[in-house]
Every structure is written in C-alpha cells, then in structure tokens.
Symmetry: C2
Subunit: 355 residues, 2 copies
C-alpha cells in the first residue's frame, strides 16, 4: 500500500483524499488543515487523521474541539508520498520541507512548472516522467486541453490549436471573487499562459490560448479550434473522442444544456459532490470544416485533476505503466460516464411497454 498524505484539505485536497482512499493500492495516512473550519470537520467525518498544517495552531484546533494527530512534519514522517493541495504559491514554499523529509511530492498546477522535476498529465505526458522525484499535475484547464489534444495529435496530427477559455470567476464557495457582471479578459495579453502550460506535457503541439473570466462558478467552457494535418469527418472525430475514457461526450437529446444540468446529471448518477472528472464535450458542437475541427467542452475545475493526481502518485511510486494506472484509477472511481441515451437508441433494442 502506498501511504499518502494530503497537505491542504481544501477544494482539491478533499477530493484527492477521497480518490486515493478509493484505490486498492493506496491509503490516506492523514490530511492537513490550517484552521478548524468545516473542512476540518469533513476530514474527521471522513475518517482521516487530521494534522495541523501550521505547527503553532494546534491549540486553535483543540479550542474548537477538533483533535489533531500532529503537525505537517509528523505527517511527512509517516507517508511514502505527499500531495500538495495548498493554494497557488504555497506549494513552492513547502518544497524545502518535503525535501528535508525526503518525501516525494505531487504539486498542483497553480505552481510554476519549476516546482517539480516534471509536469504531468496521465494522457499527455510520456513515460519519461517515471524518472522524476516530484511531479506537478497541470491545472484544470491544461488538463482538459491535454486530454483532448493528445489523441488528435496521435491520430490526425495537429497543425495548430487555437482555444478561447471562458473561465469560471471562482468556485461555488469563493464568496469574495468576481466578476459579478462582466466578461473580463484575464489575462488581457494574448496568448495566455495556458498554451505554454500545455507544452509542459505535450511539448510538440502548437497551441495558442486566449482567456476570459465570466460570472459563473460551476465550470469552465472552452471554445476549441484545431487545424488538423488531415481532414477527418466529424463522425470519425466523434468516434475517436468517444474511445477516450476521460472524455465524456454529452448525449444529444437528453436535455443537458449547460453546466447546471451537467452538475445535476452528475449528482443523479451518484457522483460524490456532483463531480465531473471527465472533460464534458458538447457532442452537437463537434464539426469539421476542411481541416478545421471545432467543438465546445466544459471542464469542472474542482474535479478534473483529481484522477490525474492519483496517476501521478503511481508514476512516482510504482513501476505500473500509464495505461495500467489509468485503468486502475478509472475503475476504482467509476470514471467513464456512459448514458442510456447517448446513442439516441439507434443501436439499442427497443424495450417494449411490457418489460
């Protein structure tokens, strides 16, 4: 069993902890919080040992009636690997602590690429990352782009990808963020950093990105154009993408028309926290004009990097191939949304009213 610690039990950390706990070859040794907010309570309810991320705050936890098993150094001594899920920039500050404890670390995409030996996406990265002692799982948007561009590059060749990212302003819990009522170029400079970030895992793909920020909290939306080196049919592209486990092609005619309905659907099928671990691709939008492929996809910013973190742990700790790891992760989590309605009944036996 790979003994895993999660430093920073927040939006990403709590999801990573649950995903790790669901794996047959991993266990969660403990998680950290900086203060005894409701997340601390969630950790305890979930059966995780809680550690104070900051040593001199132990008393604050105890005053709130929330017991801690120790502090971050204690956790690092007890684990094989740590997943850093702290806010952007804090991971970099934590690096020396992890190195002092000789603990391999997985970082999140909010950190600069230099934080780790290599950047990681389970679909995009090549096997050379197996030599790394630390990995950085690329951000939610970069993860979503890498999953999409890797199979397109392999099958058709990508001449150039051009993507507009309409990003959510903040997460549902982030009361203080904006915009309230605007579409904000963010950054206003084009191309944005997302294209180069894709190149940390797929160095040979030409990709330009432009990023906006909108007054929504549920998901990011990407408007994707990829000029391919060959000219497939839209149907062929659709079938290619349907074959990718972490791409969910939203069924047509199912009444799913936006992020609200997607999250509702995820809750309906029993996903914890209504999480969508897959890229959600609007099937109707897949079209090809000459060699230009177009499509829209939605990315659940709280969730899509979660299975990638699990695979990054295995890349640092085991000799499993990428495919074996992904298969293990996806089976344990139940990744791969299918739908009774996804083919509109065209290949199904009709069920009679007597059934």
């Amino acid at each position: 069993m790979i003994r895993v610690g999660v430093n920073g039990y927040g939006t990403i950390g709590k999801r990573v902890a649950d995903a790790v706990a669901a794996q047959p070859d991993m266990e969660v040794v403990g998680v950290t919080k900086t203060s005894p907010t409701y997340g601390a309570e969630t950790a305890i309810r979930s059966g995780y040992d809680l550690y104070a991320a900051i040593g001199d705050r132990v008393e604050e936890f105890e005053r709130a009636g929330v017991g801690v098993a120790g502090t971050l150094p204690d956790l690092l001594d007890a684990v094989d690997i740590v997943v850093d899920c702290c806010p952007s920039g804090v991971g970099e500050q934590n690096r020396s602590i992890y190195e002092a404890h000789d603990t391999p670390a997985v970082y999140q995409g909010g950190e600069d690429a230099t934080v780790a030996d290599a950047s990681f996406n389970a679909r995009g990265s090549d096997e050379s990352v197996a030599d790394a002692d630390s990995l950085r799982v690329v951000s939610c948007n970069t993860t979503g782009l890498s999953r999409l561009l890797a199979p397109l590059e392999e099958t058709y060749g990508v001449e150039k990808a051009r993507v507009t990212l309409v990003r959510r302003g903040g997460d549902p819990t982030e009361t203080g963020r904006g915009p309230i009522n605007d579409i904000v170029p963010d950054p206003a400079t084009v191309p944005s950093h997302h294209g180069p970030d894709v190149n940390t895992v797929l160095p040979d793909i030409a990709v330009d990105t432009a990023a906006l920020k909108a007054p929504v909290t549920a998901m990011h939306t990407h408007s994707v154009n990829v000029t391919l080196e060959t000219a497939p049919t839209a149907t062929a592209v659709r079938e290619l993408l349907e074959g990718e486990g972490r791409l969910f092609l939203i069924p047509e005619r199912a009444g799913l028309d936006g992020a609200g309905a997607l999250k509702d659907y995820a809750a309906d099928v029993g996903r914890p926290r209504g999480d969508l671990w897959e890229n959600c691709i609007w099937t109707e939008s897949i079209s090809v004009q000459g060699r230009d492929l177009y499509l829209f996809q939605n990315i659940h910013q709280e969730a899509d990097v979660v299975p990638e973190n699990v695979d990054a742990i295995r890349a640092l700790s085991t000799d499993l191939s990428r495919e074996e790891s992904v298969a293990k992760t996806d089976e344990a989590l139940g990744i791969g949304l299918d739908s009774l309605l996804s083919d509109g009944g065209s290949t199904r036996n009709p069920v009679t009213a007597d059934d």
Copy 2:
C-alpha cells in the same frame, strides 16, 4: 407498505421518490416523465419503473431506447397514493384523473390551495388534516416560514411577523430564467402571497411578506422579523430553534458564509445531491431588540419540501401521529445536521494530539 407513485420525476419528484424509497413503510411503484430526457435515465438507473406521463408519447420513449412500464393511468391503478410533482398548474389539471382512479393525492405548493382538501406542513398543520383525502404541501418558502413561526408562536406568541424573501431566480438547471443582473420586486405588490400561504397551515399568525428575485440559483434567503408577545433573550431563542429537528443552526466560526459553502458542506456530509432539507439559520444573525426578533435563514428550494411530502403521504395513509411520522422520516433520511464545530468546543472535551 404504502405503494407510492410519483407523477412528474423532475427537480422535486426525483427527490421525493428517493426519500420515499428510503422509508421503511413505503415503496416507489413507479414514476412518470413526459419525455426521455436525462431524468428518464436517472429514474431507470435508480431502479424505478418508468411510466409515460402522456399516453401518446410511449413511442417517443421507445425510439430513444428508454423502456416504459405503461402510462399514468396504469401507474394510478397500481398505487395507494400518488404524489403530484408536475409543474405549477398541471397538478390542478391532473386532479380529475386522480379522482377518477380514486387515488388519494399529494400536491405541491405551486398549485392553488383549492386543489386539495387541506394544505400541509408537518410542523405547522394541526392534526385535523388527517381527515383529508388530498393534501397540498406548501411551497418551499412557506414551508421554511411555517417551520420557524410554529415554535415561536407556541413558546412566545407571535404578535406579527414581517419577512423579506430574497428568492433565487431559478434552479441550477433552469438555463432560461432570470434575472441575470437585477433584484426584481416579484411580485411588486406588497404584501406578497407568501404570508396568506402561511395562513393555510397556521391560520392564526399575522404575517406580512415582501418578495424579491435575485440572480442566484442555489437557495432563497429570508430576512425575518418577528415581533413576539414576550421578550426572550437571543440565547433562549437560539436554544428553542436548536431543539427543532428541521431547523439547522449554521455553526459559527466554521467558515460557512453563503449558499455556496452551505451546499459544499451538505455534499461533504454525504447528502444526496447536496440537499439541505432543513431551514439553514445564520446563528450569528439571531438577535432580539425589545420584543423584536431578527434573523436570516436560507431555504434550499429543491429540497426542503421533500420530507414534508413523506409526512403528507403518512397523514393520508396511516394513523401515525405527526410526531411519529416526522421521527420516522427524519431517521430514514438522516435529517438533523449536527456539527462537530457547532458549539465552538465550549461544551466538548478537548481531544489531545495523541488521540
């Protein structure tokens, strides 16, 4: 076992079906949909027999590969009671069908009060509703007000309640609704219909309401003033409300600061669909100035009427007392959010770091 049919497996209907299925004394015989959207798939995944709400649409379901067990009349013949969860106004149209099948019916609060023999709230209604052959569960806002006002009236006497309802514009799935960027008086006439609706279950309480509509989807927010007949302390009111099973006093100092965090918390504690069946009262807001009580409460419009529907079924079908039914419902669903943090540790033994 009480055999229950749910006519209209939408936002409320799917939640009512799951809540009924969780009861030890009830079973879901089947649910209806008007068309084979993703909700139809959810019904099948959840193990419910699906019926076409509209007879001539059976073929449409079959073309989509979604088998139906029959149509609404077939369902009505197979059940002891039907819960109508159709859009507002459709319940009234369905009444003659239910009566023709001699099937007792529970309606939702979007219907006029005249649709049923009596209006119902498990905390507010008196036992006389046991004589009814049909009940109307009052709307989400009226449910939230009735639960709050009933104990205040019993304990302190209510001279007059004045409430501003800041309502959500639409549900998360309702892409077509507004406002996008406004606070809309809705209705602009004051008082709104909500006060009189409270009087359908609590006829003797003087209550005026004014209603607005805001660009949010997660929850309604009520700003409540109640002029009491006596002048309790805020602490006494807090303790009174803490004793009510379907009122959740949001723990202070837990970092819960809005509807986004409340829903996140609900998902964290494992609530299906992140549902908040309880009124969520902002504990810090409870204050008393002379005989004037003030507080804010949030109401999850998709969820708070769900346990009330379960109790309405028992009121029509059994001789159980209200208290027995509520206890059964709440135990089966796990209603009554408590919190490790709710008392700030003041009455808890601190847990040491070694535990």
